[in-house]
């Protein structure tokens, strides 16, 4: 197990390193460097000499690997640059918006689990019946439906037609807990749909696969009831592979948050990212990319460790 954990840690660190290079490269490949971008906004800077001086000051005239070193150092020390659009530091922007997005993440994960697991389990238990066909098709629809359209349809149904939920906007929990919940119900549901579909399909196939194995026959031969077999024998081995799709579901959630926050006008990190893309606010885009990648990597690391912990074939090595 120790070897496994160190292995996963080293792997994550290595990928993180590669990600930083990739993003640095992207940032440098983007048309116009930060100074030029700033120059477009602030015409005082348009003077060539001034630009030269600024390039030197920010180290943009040094070789690429030195620039990378500076960039990396700055990032680690929290110097994430200044938004070209708003003039705020990116670091501040990030931490101001983090809680909103975290709430959305938590909510959508809850929806994914709440919908995905029961669907998958029922489909497996009623395999090859009409119910299974309906549930399986539903789960494919769940992974196919574009979040932006789902969001719009839900807004139309629940806000325009039924007037049950606010169509957009976000109310902080500290202001009004109830309004806060109402404002995140739809966005989190939409963000969680892909994950739910994914879980449903995976839970079903893993459970079916496990139920077909020899040791389930052994359990039947011991006189266990089907219910007891499902709970004591099938649940754990079926859930271990399901753990591995949590990472994938998470990346759907993170990706979905960008569109969902945009549609529902929620002032979170996703909205910040989309706005930065619209405004070509490269310092913000860069920081967003790094943070998103780190987030996904860390979740995958946790998933891997959990997997190792759950499977005795790994944890007892």
């Amino acid at each position: 197990m120790k070897r496994y954990i160190t292995g996963r840690l080293v792997y994550t660190g290595f990928i993180l390193f590669l990600v930083s290079i990739l993003i640095f490269a992207l940032a440098r490949l983007l048309p116009g460097d930060p100074i030029q971008a700033a120059a477009m906004i602030n015409t005082d800077l348009a003077d060539k000499q001034v630009i030269q001086d600024l390039r030197a000051r920010f180290g943009l005239d040094k070789p690429l690997y030195v620039q990378y070193g500076i960039w990396l150092r700055d990032f680690i020390t929290g110097e994430w640059g200044v938004s070209i659009g708003s003039g705020e530091t990116v670091f501040e922007m990030f931490f101001n918006r983090l809680p909103v997005t975290l709430e959305l993440f938590a909510g959508s994960v809850i929806w994914s689990f709440l919908i995905g697991f029961p669907l998958g389990i029922f489909a497996a238990l009623r395999r090859n019946t009409w119910l299974d066909a309906v549930l399986t098709t539903t789960s494919i629809v769940g992974v196919s439906i574009p979040v932006f359209w789902e969001g719009i349809v839900l807004i139309y149904l629940f806000s325009v037609v039924l007037h049950l939920l606010p169509p957009a906007g976000f109310v902080p929990f500290s202001e009004s807990p109830l309004q806060n919940l109402l404002s995140v119900v739809m966005p989190t549901f939409v963000m969680g749909t892909h994950g739910a579909g994914l879980f449903a399909r995976y839970v079903r196939s893993c459970l079916l696969e496990v139920m077909g194995q020899d040791f389930i026959r052994t359990a039947r031969a011991k006189g266990l009831s089907e219910k007891a077999i499902l709970i004591t024998h099938a649940a754990k081995p079926a859930m271990i592979p399901v753990v591995t799709v949590v990472g994938l579901a998470w990346s759907y959630v993170v990706g979905g948050s960008f569109l969902v926050e945009y549609i529902f006008a929620i002032p979170g990190l996703g909205r910040m990212g989309v706005d930065a893309v619209f405004a070509r606010d490269f310092p913000v885009i860069q920081a967003t990319l790094v943070l998103v990648a780190m987030n996904v990597l860390i979740v995958n690391l946790i998933v891997d460790l959990l997997y190792g912990y759950l499977d005795p074939r790994i944890s007892l090595q």
Binding site: R3, Y4, T6, G7, R8, V10, Y11, F14, I15, L18, V19, L26, L29, L30, N128, A133, T136, I140, V141, S144, I145, P146, V147, F148, W149, I152, V153, I155, Y156, V160, E209, V210, G212, Q213, I240, S251, Y252, V254, G255, G256, F258, L259, Y262, I263, G273, V274, V277, F278, R280, T288, L289, V292, A293, V296, L297, D304, Y307, G308, D311, I314
Partner: protein, 323 residues
């Protein structure tokens, strides 16, 4: 270093898989179905797909969309770009079956023409992704060692940035437009193909026929493309079908944010973007294009599902056992 741990853990996962492969119970017909290569068994595969309900549904929708895309000029009741500022944001009528958009263009005609962009972007970006991914996967799996290690770490690196976000950044960098969107989608879609191809090559590489090809003096490239690739095609085709759906989704997401195909080219995502502002007045303006996107993505996912069941003899055995 990480390499060992990676292979160890993936081995264990794979070992789990192979253990799950049920020994053929005596009461079944006894014969194991041989591994099906695409060359030998087109007919049974076709049979399996045509008997897979969801796959048939997927094929049907794809055919419909193709007809829409190809025959849009004949099917569309109006010129999709003809503006009529006296009749904007109209509800469905006999003249405009789905109503009109914000500048009075016929929505139905625009939806019909919209199939062109979606299918074109979906298919062409998938072809590019597949070409890049298959090549990288073949080389990585066949050469092994450091090359394999490095390329797989690089695919992992690409995979830890969610596709949509990657696409937005690339679209911002390259600028909007059909070609840039195709390039952007291909630039992030190759990873899946690389991983799948590599996995297939790794398992195929140990089979005797590869040894035999070596012994016969075949070159590395020949073995890769003439021996390994044809036998690795089944899961690649499944992935391709699903990737087309994903690419259509990404294209419309980019268009929805105004980063995709530029107006006035008719596109579902673009229609959705504009229609979204008029949701309360003319809901069909955003709902119909979105429905088309969903149907297109769904169709390719259905087809992928059916193909997986048809091409994977192991899963098919499973299904038979349950039936």
């Amino acid at each position: 270093m990480t390499m060992d741990e990676e292979t160890v853990s993936s081995d264990i996962r794979q070992a789990g898989d192979s253990e799950k492969e049920p020994a053929p119970p005596e009461f079944e017909t006894g014969r194991r179905e041989p591994r099906r290569s695409l060359r030998t068994g087109i007919r049974p595969i076709l049979y399996a797909i045509l008997h897979h309900k969801t796959a048939c549904m997927g094929i049907l929708i794809i055919l419909l969309l193709t007809v829409m895309a190809l025959f849009a000029p004949w099917l569309a009741p109006h010129d999709p770009n003809e503006q009529d500022l006296y009749h904007v944001l109209e509800s469905p009528s006999r003249r405009h079956l789905l109503g009109t958009d914000d500048v009075g263009r016929d929505l139905l005609s625009r939806v019909l023409f919209g199939a062109r962009v979606s299918l074109f972007v979906g298919l062409s970006s998938t072809v590019f992704s597949a070409l890049i991914g298959i090549f990288i996967g073949l080389v990585a799996g066949y050469k092994g060692g450091a090359i394999d290690m490095l390329t797989m770490r690089i695919t992992d690196t690409f995979m830890c940035i969610p596709g949509l976000i990657f696409l937005l950044v690339l679209a911002a960098a390259l600028g909007p437009g059909v070609h840039n969107i195709i390039i952007a989608i291909a630039a992030l879609g190759w990873t899946g193909f690389a991983r799948i191809t590599r996995g297939q090559v790794l398992s195929l590489r140990q089979l005797p026929f590869v040894e035999a090809a070596h012994a016969a003096g075949a070159s590395g490239w020949r073995i890769m493309f003439r021996h390994l690739l044809p036998n690795a095609m089944a899961p690649i085709i499944v992935a391709a079908s699903i990737t087309v759906g994903g690419a259509i989704m990404l294209e419309s997401a980019a268009a929805f944010l105004g980063l995709g195909v530029q107006p006035p080219t008719p596109s579902w995502g673009e229609a959705l973007r504009v229609g979204y502002s008029y949701l309360e007045i003319v809901p069909l303006f955003s709902i119909v294009p979105g429905l088309m996107i969903t149907l297109a993505v769904l169709a390719f996912n259905f087809l992928g599902d059916g193909l997986r069941d048809a091409l994977d003899p192991r899963l098919r055995g499973e299904a038979q056992k349950i039936v």
